[in-house]
């Protein structure tokens, strides 16, 4: 077992860290405050190969392995968790399903533009009455001469406002429940497809989260992704990969919280000595560092299984569950360690705290991750 990163992996990590430090960190606080989408950064990242990380070069992707992918997402999240989720969602559940299941024509039409960042991708499964239980989705797609006609509302869609291409899950056969769900590639601008309310969130505020509305939205037959009735299977596969990315995002937030605690506890003096000389503080830092290390190896394990084309859904859920809860614990300790300053918006730990809570919930709540792990253990 080799715990060393390869040259490519180290370079990917360095490129992302340099980019994040210079291009994301200086504006992250302001973007959070004003819910401002990182438009310029996303455009630059498209040109630098961040938007098609696990897509082959023939479609304009960077063809990186899963370990490099998680290293990049972690590095971005350390500076700005919102930007990290935009990139993660685009890569894992926007572009990747088109690569996995798309026809040659779909790959030519959509994948190249997604992989090079010319178009931004989103993924629409969640509905007002269907989140953790995707089999109960109510959006329908009825086959007609004009293609499939979609009707329904999707909610909490990451990059819903900014995205150009959305992978939409709709029921083509309500009676078959989860086996009646089909995935569609729907372009912005399609008649009958509109963006609804933009949410004002607790954390991850620079990433837009929207409602998507489909009213008699006709989608051509050739935009069915994979085969009809296979949508949920496709969704779950993409979501497993997405969860590894979200776990890496959590790791970045936790790492940021730890780094700030180290800097602050060395600089801040109380009782005539730096905070870091107090054992109560040392233990907090030791616990954070230990949990972060454990989360990192869970994430590497899931990414490594994916790279070796082995099943990784359970390990992906374990990584997402553990890493997001580690981020929440680390951010909670970080605010505590910073005392009153930790509650102020001038300190990044305040943002880490709000971001970490969101990460525990989206892309499958902690409870859903436990359900997935338990099902696998007990099956």
């Amino acid at each position: 077992m080799d715990f060393n990163l390869s040259k490519q992996q180290k370079l990917a990590q360095k490129i992302a860290a340099d980019f994040a430090r210079n291009e994301l960190a200086p504006f992250a606080q302001e973007r959070d405050e004003n819910m401002r989408f990182p438009e310029e950064a996303i455009e630059k990242m498209g040109a630098l190969g961040f938007m098609g990380m696990c897509i082959p070069k023939e479609y304009g992707g960077s063809e990186l392995d899963g370990i490099s992918y998680v290293l990049v997402i972690e590095a971005l999240a350390k500076a700005c968790a919102s930007t990290a989720i935009i990139v993660s969602v685009h890569n894992s559940v926007g572009a990747y399903p088109v690569y996995l299941l798309g026809t040659d024509e779909q790959k030519e039409t959509y994948l190249r533009d997604l992989a090079t960042g010319r178009k931004l991708g989103a993924f629409a499964l969640t509905e007002p009455n269907a989140g953790s239980d995707p089999s109960s989705i109510e959006t329908t797609a009825v086959y007609t001469d004009a293609g499939y006609v979609l009707n329904g509302t999707k909610t909490f869609i990451t990059s819903g406002e900014r995205s150009d291409v959305v992978i939409v899950m709709a029921s083509t056969d309500r009676a078959k429940k989860s086996r009646g769900i089909t995935a569609f590639i729907v372009e912005k601008g399609t008649k009958g497809f509109s963006v609804g309310a933009k949410e004002n969130k607790l954390g991850i505020r620079a990433s837009d989260t929207c409602e998507l509305i489909f009213e008699n939205c006709a989608v051509p037959k050739q935009n069915v992704l994979g085969s009809t009735g296979e949508g949920l299977r496709a969704a779950l596969e993409a979501l497993s990969f997405g969860r590894v990315g979200v776990a890496a995002q959590a790791l970045g937030v936790a790492g940021s919280a730890l780094e700030q605690c180290i800097t602050y506890s060395n600089a801040r003096k109380q009782f005539g000595k730096p905070l870091s000389h107090l054992q109560a503080i040392q233990w907090m830092i030791a616990d954070m560092a230990t949990e972060i290390e454990a989360a990192r190896f869970l994430i590497f394990n899931a990414a490594n299984l994916k790279d070796r084309a082995k099943p990784f859904a359970t390990q992906g859920s374990m990584a997402k569950l553990f890493a997001s809860e580690v981020a929440m614990r680390a951010a909670t300790k970080a605010v505590q360690l910073h005392g009153g300053y930790g509650c102020m918006k001038d300190y990044t730990v305040e943002r880490c705290f709000r971001d970490a809570k969101v990460i525990e919930i989206y892309e499958g709540t902690s409870e859903i991750q436990r359900l997935i792990v338990a099902r696998d253990m007990l099956s």
Binding site: K7, K10, L11, A12, F19, L48, K57
Partner: protein, 264 residues
């Protein structure tokens, strides 16, 4: 000019913003200090890539250093350089600026025909700014230093030089050597798209002293006419003094102090 062949010299340096000096031994504490691509060499790479984008051609990155300097070349390849050469051999160790320039010149001769050599003005670890000019000397090339803009014409380059108190435009016939400052451009980031080929070894050559066909006595520490005698941290400056009183009083006190110090 079409198909311009450019060689860029680069150096891996310790990130001096993190370096401390051991007061007992007067040497740099290098342990745990990250190595980076010398900042002005990054500008040199960017300048070369921009010229290639307008004229076509190739960019070759060259460095001399320990085996881990390869990382720096991989980063330059990920920025978009076409190929890279690492000069690494125990025989090169301890070279001063003159012998470094000599060794680089031998590698450049071996690389064959070129139109332009671009170097960063100076490296942040030594700040000598000597290697570029010395390299031009060994290769018998015209040199233009402190470039802030480079434009290529048919067989020459027009360069805007940033000097201390003026700007100077100068034309130089090619082949030539140009050193650039940070003012010339904003270097691009390396691209994730390029890292596969940058790191798989296909674009990188490693040359030893034997490959350069230079006798050992002309290389490294013992061939170097200069050596570092001592490195030390300058004495900490005296503490600042805080004046008090009204603005007018403080201004008066300040003028008195400056007169005392014979600065006024």
């Amino acid at each position: 000019m079409k198909d311009v062949k450019i060689i860029v010299t680069v150096k891996q340096v310790p990130d001096t913003s993190e370096v401390r000096i051991d007061p007992k031994t007067n040497s740099l504490i290098r342990e745990g200090i990250p190595s980076i691509l010398n900042p002005e060499d990054r500008n040199a790479v960017e300048a070369a890539l921009c010229l290639r984008e307008t004229c076509g051609g190739t960019v070759t990155a060259l460095t001399m250093g320990p085996p881990q300097a390869e990382e720096t070349l991989e980063e330059v390849l990920a920025m978009g350089a076409d190929r890279a050469v690492l000069l690494s051999d125990r025989a090169f160790a301890g070279s001063d600026t003159l012998i470094t320039a000599f060794t680089l010149s031998r590698a450049i001769m071996k690389l064959g025909k070129y139109d332009l050599i671009i170097c960063g003005r100076q490296a942040i670890d030594g700040d000598t700014a000597q290697v570029g000019p010395q390299l031009a000397g060994f290769l018998d090339l015209p040199q233009v230093t402190y470039a802030e803009e480079i434009a290529l014409e048919k067989k020459s380059a027009i360069i805007k030089r940033g000097l201390e108190d003026c700007l100077e435009w100068t034309r130089v016939r090619l082949p030539a050597l140009i050193t650039v400052t940070a003012a010339i451009n904003q270097p691009r980031y390396p691209s994730l798209y390029n890292i596969g080929t940058a790191c798989d070894g296909s674009l990188l050559k490693r040359w030893s002293a034997k490959d350069l066909n230079v006798p050992g006595e002309m290389l490294g520490l013992h061939a170097s006419p200069t050596g570092v005698k001592k490195i030390f941290e300058p004495d900490r400056k005296a503490k600042g003094q805080i004046l008090s009183g009204s603005e007018k009083e403080m201004a008066g006190q300040l003028i008195e102090k400056l007169k005392e110090m014979q600065l006024l």
